[in-house]
């Protein structure tokens, strides 16, 4: 048995029952994907967006067929026509919302609530579509979670969040003063932050407890507490970074201009408009810096947590994303995409996919050549496209 450093014991099975580790390999190339991407973009523009459905299938096929495990690649099966139809319905929904906002703000509020209440259904449909159209060695993945389970899993945090926000808005309405408004906004933000890990956990559990590859079901053994742990550590890191950044700045100022200048700057800050603007820019810079640092930490921790706690049949996933490496990739991607006005984007996607996928291995127990296929199903693409359009991150 191999020892797996850094892997927490998985619930249910003893950590020693690891099996043979087999890597996930990503073979895609940035240059090749760039060529596919630019041709997709060109044809999508030329066809006024119609080709985008075919473009999506080409892109997904490229990434799936370049992701290999145990000598075979994954594959993507969605039909472009189905994606196009889903896309049209999703865009029609968005257009209805925009028009409603323009004409009757109250109707828009109703639609927003309806959208929030419809979210679990959309998540359910999107997961079904995605899994039903993904395969490995000709065996389709599947998603067995029901709509009812989606509502049971997601509605409680969503409704609680809506109540928190509604209460905050109500209070702000009642006590119109600036200070009260600030406090209320703070409370709403705190409420959101307190509920987000729970929502995230329940979404992941709904997903990873209900998927399957043919007849092999997946199981998820993380707890809500673990999700709160990742969120809290990220928050603490973020706060520490902002404080550290500001301290470093003040320190530099003192070192350069002497104590008197620093005090002078601090003293004139509340009065002078430029000083206040400067402080605003500083706070913005500090937050941005913290965000750029914390996000890779969060993503690395989260990927490791989710995949190390997922098994498929007897096989276990082992994810070892390192925060520093992920940070370097994301940071350089960001700068290069910015410097090339977006032309680096396809290279960036390939780099990130390569690192994230190659950080995952599967501890195989038993025979991978004897996986049985399940039933095939046809699912409409509306949920998937609606989730896409609204940037709903359902995750892999």
């Amino acid at each position: 048995m191999e020892r797996l450093p850094g892997v927490p014991p998985t619930g249910g099975a003893p950590p020693g029952a690891g099996g043979r580790l087999r890597p996930i390999v990503f073979t895609g190339s940035g240059g090749e994907y760039f060529r596919i991407w630019i041709v997709n973009l060109f044809l999508s523009i030329l066809s006024l967006g119609v080709y985008s459905a075919w473009a999506k299938v080409r892109r997904q096929r490229y990434f799936h067929r370049n992701t290999r495990f145990a000598g075979s690649a994954f594959d993507y099966h969605a039909r472009p026509a189905a994606i196009l139809v889903g896309r049209i319905f999703a865009i029609a929904g968005l257009a209805a919302f925009v028009v409603a906002v323009e004409l009757q703000p109250l109707a828009a509020l109703g639609l927003l609530v309806a959208w929030l209440l419809g979210l679990p259904w959309i998540v359910h449909r999107a997961l079904r579509f995605r899994h039903a159209n993904t395969s490995w060695r000709g065996i389709r993945f599947g998603f067995l979670g029901t709509v009812g389970e989606a509502y049971r899993a997601l509605m409680m945090p969503v409704v609680a969040w809506m109540l928190v926000v509604a209460a905050a808005v109500g209070l702000a309405w009642r006590y119109g003063s600036d200070a009260a408004l600030g406090l209320v906004l703070l409370a709403a933000a705190a409420g959101t932050y307190a509920l987000l890990p729970l929502l995230h956990y329940r979404l992941r559990r709904y997903h990873h407890d209900n998927a399957c590859l043919g007849m092999l079901p997946t199981r998820f053994s993380a707890t809500a507490g673990m999700f709160y742990g990742v969120y809290l550590r990220s928050l603490a890191l973020g706060i520490a970074l902002v404080v550290g950044f500001l301290a470093l700045l003040v320190g530099t100022m003192v070192a350069i201009g002497g104590v008197s200048t620093a005090i002078e700057v601090a003293a004139t800050a509340p009065g002078g408009a430029p000083a206040v603007a400067g402080l605003g820019i500083l706070a913005g810079a500090a937050s941005w810096f913290a965000w750029m640092m914390v996000r890779p930490y969060f993503l690395a921790r989260m990927q490791n947590l989710v995949w190390n706690r997922t098994r498929i049949g007897p096989h276990r996933f082992v994810s070892r994303v390192r925060m520093r490496r992920l940070w370097a990739i994301r940071m350089s991607n960001f700068l290069l995409v910015l410097a090339t006005l977006g032309l680096f984007l396809p290279f960036a996607k390939v780099r990130l996919a390569r690192y994230r996928l190659q950080s995952v291995e599967v501890a195989v127990l038993g025979d991978l050549d004897r996986i049985e296929g399940g039933e095939r199903e046809r699912v409409s693409a509306f949920g998937e496209e609606a989730a896409d359009l609204f940037d709903l991150d359902i995750g892999i």
């Binding site: 190339s29 060529r35 041709v39 060109f42 096929r61 594959d75």
Partner: protein
């Protein structure tokens, strides 16, 4: 000639067991030969993979089976012998020269869409927007302004009637068929000297602007004010606000589709800059219309030009020559440019 044979691994879609197979095309029929079976698929019953340098080529068979081919080059050699053609997108993606051509064409079509297609579509659609929607938008704007930014006008009723009469006479002489009651007088407590066209066919003008304009010396009475009103009338008649609304919305959708992946900022910045560019273009249109109306009514543009100067519409005038980067952040064209345009159009 014997057909090219290529190899791969067959999966039946029911188990994950690989079966080594040899394949060939007999005209357009794909023949899959395994140690203990042979499967033939007619043209419509299989789907060939794109030819890419990287990635597993997979042939889908109707009914669920699939074949992972060992070598995409051999696969396509055999397929071409069987009369198969690669898709246009696939051919374009295989060569750098064609991909870079696609890049150039993408940039060209983005520019053309932004420069001609979008404005053209917006000016076609804007007059079709039901006037009820425009009116309700205009009423919303008035309510919003009246909630703290403007107050009821302090101008005497005679003065307002006088301005309305002069405005109507000017439009009549310019051959414009305008409904009465277009002008909306307000005291600009929060917005100062200002005038703007509202959606739904009204023009709001503040007392402060009326007073400021009265200080401009002119041959005919209220010539400067009439110039401003003619400019706003140009906006109103051409549905500029609705056009801008449509253009900016379309721009926002396009930008988020193109750059939304990178981040919100990447999608918002082009929208804002593009929106401002459109605004300047519409201002130029309205200036041209003002010059035309004034000329038709035998009025001069010079008082209007003086008024622009007085209202401080000269941000950037003190900048050294060549540093006109601020041009792109302005809602209105540079003053010098405007003056030239007004004088030229009025001739």
């Amino acid at each position: 000639m014997t057909p090219t044979v290529f190899f791969g691994r067959y999966f039946d879609g029911r188990t994950s067991t690989p079966v080594p197979v040899a394949m060939r095309f007999e005209s357009d029929v794909l023949v899959v030969v395994a140690p203990d079976f042979e499967r033939r698929a007619a043209r419509k019953h299989y789907r060939l993979p794109e030819r890419t340098e990287h990635g597993q080529p997979i042939i889908h068979l109707r009914g669920g089976g699939q074949v992972e081919a060992d070598d995409v080059g051999a696969l396509w050699r055999a397929a071409r012998e069987g009369g198969q053609r690669e898709s246009f997108a696939s051919v374009m993606s295989q060569r750098w020269s064609l991909a870079l051509l696609a890049l150039a064409l993408t940039l060209a079509s983005l520019y053309a869409g932004y420069r001609w297609v979008l404005p053209g579509a917006a000016s076609l659609v804007a007059p079709l927007v039901p006037s009820a929607i425009e009116r309700s938008l205009g009423q919303e704007a008035i309510d919003w302004l009246d909630d703290g930014l403007t107050a009821p006008s302090r101008l005497p009723q005679d003065r307002r009637d006088e301005i309305e009469a002069r405005f109507a006479r000017m439009l009549e002489r310019a051959g414009e068929d305008a409904a009465p009651g277009i002008l909306l007088f307000r005291s600009g407590t929060g917005i100062g000297a200002n005038a703007f066209a509202l959606p739904g066919g009204r023009i709001l003008v503040t007392d402060e602007l009326v007073e400021e304009a009265a200080r401009v010396a002119s041959a005919a009475p209220d010539e400067a004010l009439l110039g401003v009103l003619a400019h706003e009338y140009g906006h109103m008649r051409e549905h500029h606000l609705m056009r801008r609304l449509l253009k900016v919305s379309a721009l926002a959708v396009a930008a988020s589709a193109l750059w939304g992946d990178i981040g919100t900022v990447a999608a918002v910045v082009p929208t804002v800059l593009g929106g401002l560019d459109y605004t300047r273009e519409l201002e130029r249109d309205a200036d041209r219309e003002a010059a035309r109306i004034l000329a038709a009514a035998d009025l001069s543009v010079e008082p209007l030009i003086t008024l622009f100067g007085m209202l401080g519409d000269d941000v950037g005038a003190g900048l050294p020559a060549g540093s006109d980067w601020k041009r792109y952040l302005r809602t209105h064209p540079m003053t010098g440019e405007r003056i030239e345009l007004l004088r030229a159009a009025g001739r």
